[in-house]
């Protein structure tokens, strides 16, 4: 007797529907008490604070590289004085949020996928439920809140680290002072540059937490499944971040037309 197998299209649609329902449930339960305050704070530390070194170091490196590229371009027009402002706008509007989102999808996404996957295959999630604890609320909602809160803060850290990197590169070439560099950096940046671009990373945080949690929660096939969940968490979170970024940037341009100028 052979088993009836679903077509790939049906399987894909079923999986997309399951992910969508999972995300919807997470979004709904975030605002419904009781809140797991203690566990949320622990996740903020694990997922947020412990990601800060990665973001800070990467931000400085990105800033150095961006500064070198910006200098190469602006030098041709004799507009070297615009380097700090140009770099700051690039960082705050797009490079900082997107790079932070992708870096964190790697660190946080892999971590959540592997941790929840391991908990699933070792029956720890069942054990939580058996102890009369809502595993979804305890494991997923806490991570969603932590990611949604942590992403904008880490993005802001990335922006500042990037500007610091830009300053290091610029001071090595032109000897510009720190005060002058940051004065020029902020000269062309308004709240409409910073707020929408940073707030959109809350969506990135939601995507990373829910996608990775879904893959961890639905892990099968033992340790092999855990590895697969971890890898897929990074890949799918990254793809969703890049695709959603297109939509979000379009939305920002629509709501804040001055940003598009």
């Amino acid at each position: 007797m052979t088993e009836r197998s679903e077509s790939p299209v049906v399987s894909l649609l079923a999986a997309a529907g399951a992910v969508w329902l999972f995300m919807w449930k997470a979004a709904r339960e975030v605002i419904v008490p009781p809140f797991e305050v203690r566990e949320t704070i622990r996740q903020l530390y694990e997922l947020g604070l412990r990601s800060a070194p990665l973001i800070a170091v990467s931000g400085v490196a990105v800033g150095v590289v961006l500064s070198m590229h910006t200098r190469a371009s602006l030098e041709r027009f004799g507009a070297e004085s615009m380097i700090p402002a140009g770099l700051a706008i690039a960082l705050v509007r797009e490079t900082g949020p997107l790079t932070a989102g992708l870096l964190l999808s790697g660190r946080i996404g892999a971590g959540i996928g592997a941790e929840l996957g391991a908990m699933r295959v070792t029956e720890q999630i069942d054990a939580l439920e058996a102890t009369a604890v809502d595993a979804f609320r305890y494991l997923v909602v806490t991570r969603v809140v932590a990611c949604v809160v942590a992403l904008p803060i880490l993005t802001t850290l990335m922006n500042f680290a990037g500007m610091l990197g830009g300053y290091l590169a610029e001071s090595a070439v032109s000897g510009m002072s720190l005060t002058m560099y940051f004065d020029r950096s902020f000269s062309l940046i308004g709240l409409s540059d910073y707020v929408p671009a940073t707030v959109k990373t809350m969506v990135f945080g939601f995507i990373i937490a829910t996608m990775s949690s879904y893959l961890g929660f639905t892990t099968e096939s033992g340790t092999e499944g855990v590895g697969r969940a971890s890898t897929r968490a990074v890949v799918l979170s990254s793809i969703l971040i890049i695709v959603s970024n297109v939509v979000l940037v379009r939305l920002i341009f629509f709501i804040f037309p001055e940003v598009a100028r």
């Binding site: 088993e3 941790e115 391991a118 070792t122 029956e123 720890q124 069942d126 054990a127 939580l128 439920e129 058996a130 102890t131 009369a132 604890v133 809502d134």
Partner: protein, 262 residues
């Protein structure tokens, strides 16, 4: 205003209260595989009830039905007067607080210490202070021979110690019903006997209702006031150990005569 209750309804209500666990015509399928087929049984309060059978016959799935981790495709599952199979959310959580569950591989939370694993249900479901919770967790650990292990991480424990810690966590809230999945699997005979002795004491002295899934016939004879054999998702036989020893069914006799059932 008094509402007249029919004798039949009252009788059923009394039966529900007297029974710690009751399954009625439970069927369960995973994919194309039928795991349970019309399974019905009753576990009286304070009874030691043992489910035996070869591997893959639906024993663990039956336990998970009782605590509501798995829902039946058809049929009903009762714990006391509560129909677990139809409960959700807070109502299901309320019933679960009255049940302890020892998983086959203990399923300790590996990100917290052994003591915090035992303290976990107390932190979640009681208003005890931190000091009282720690004291009570230490008492439970001592009861399973793990005194002084409060701060060790689960990864540092042997298989037997993990299982004992899992039992301490299952007993943390002093539940009237304890579900135990393979208490002696993977353990040396001495540790297995120690765990059996603990369960026996809980059942005989504490009046805790036990539902135990095991492969170990010696363990089943010691813990079981009543034994049930599952085969291919159906109940093959049920009764006391003495009843099953007299069975004319070849498989039942083979299981009862064996050292391990699967």
């Amino acid at each position: 205003m008094n509402v007249a209750i029919s004798p039949a309804v009252e009788e059923e209500k009394e039966a529900q209260i007297a029974a710690a666990v009751r399954l009625e015509h439970v069927c369960k399928t995973f994919g194309s595989r039928r795991v349970l087929e019309d399974v019905s049984f009753t576990v009286p309060v304070s009874c030691g009830f043992v489910i035996l059978g070869r591997s893959g016959t639906g024993k663990s799935v039956t336990l998970k039905h009782i605590i509501g981790l798995v829902k039946p495709d058809s049929g009903r599952v009762f714990v006391g007067a509560d129909e677990v199979s139809s409960l959700e959310g807070q109502e299901l959580a309320r019933v679960r607080r009255s049940i302890g569950f020892l998983f086959q591989n203990a399923a300790l939370f590996d990100s917290i210490s052994v003591g915090e694993n035992v303290a976990f249900p107390l932190r979640r479901h009681t208003r005890l202070t931190d000091i009282e919770i720690r004291e009570r967790a230490q008492v439970k650990l001592a009861a399973v021979g793990l005194e002084g292990e409060y701060d060790r991480m689960p990864a540092a424990l042997s298989g037997g110690m993990k299982k004992r810690a899992g039992l301490a966590r299952a007993m943390a809230l002093d539940p009237p019903l304890l579900l135990v999945d393979e208490p002696s699997a993977g353990l040396d005979p001495i540790t297995a006997d120690e765990i059996d002795n603990l369960l026996f004491a809980l059942n005989n002295q504490g009046g805790t209702t036990l539902v135990v899934v095991t492969h170990n016939i010696r363990s089943a004879r010691r813990l079981g006031d009543e034994l049930m054999i599952l085969h291919e998702g159906r109940i093959l036989a049920q009764g006391t150990a003495a009843d099953l020893d007299q069975s004319h069914d070849d498989l039942v006799r083979a299981l009862m005569a064996s050292q391990h059932a699967g």
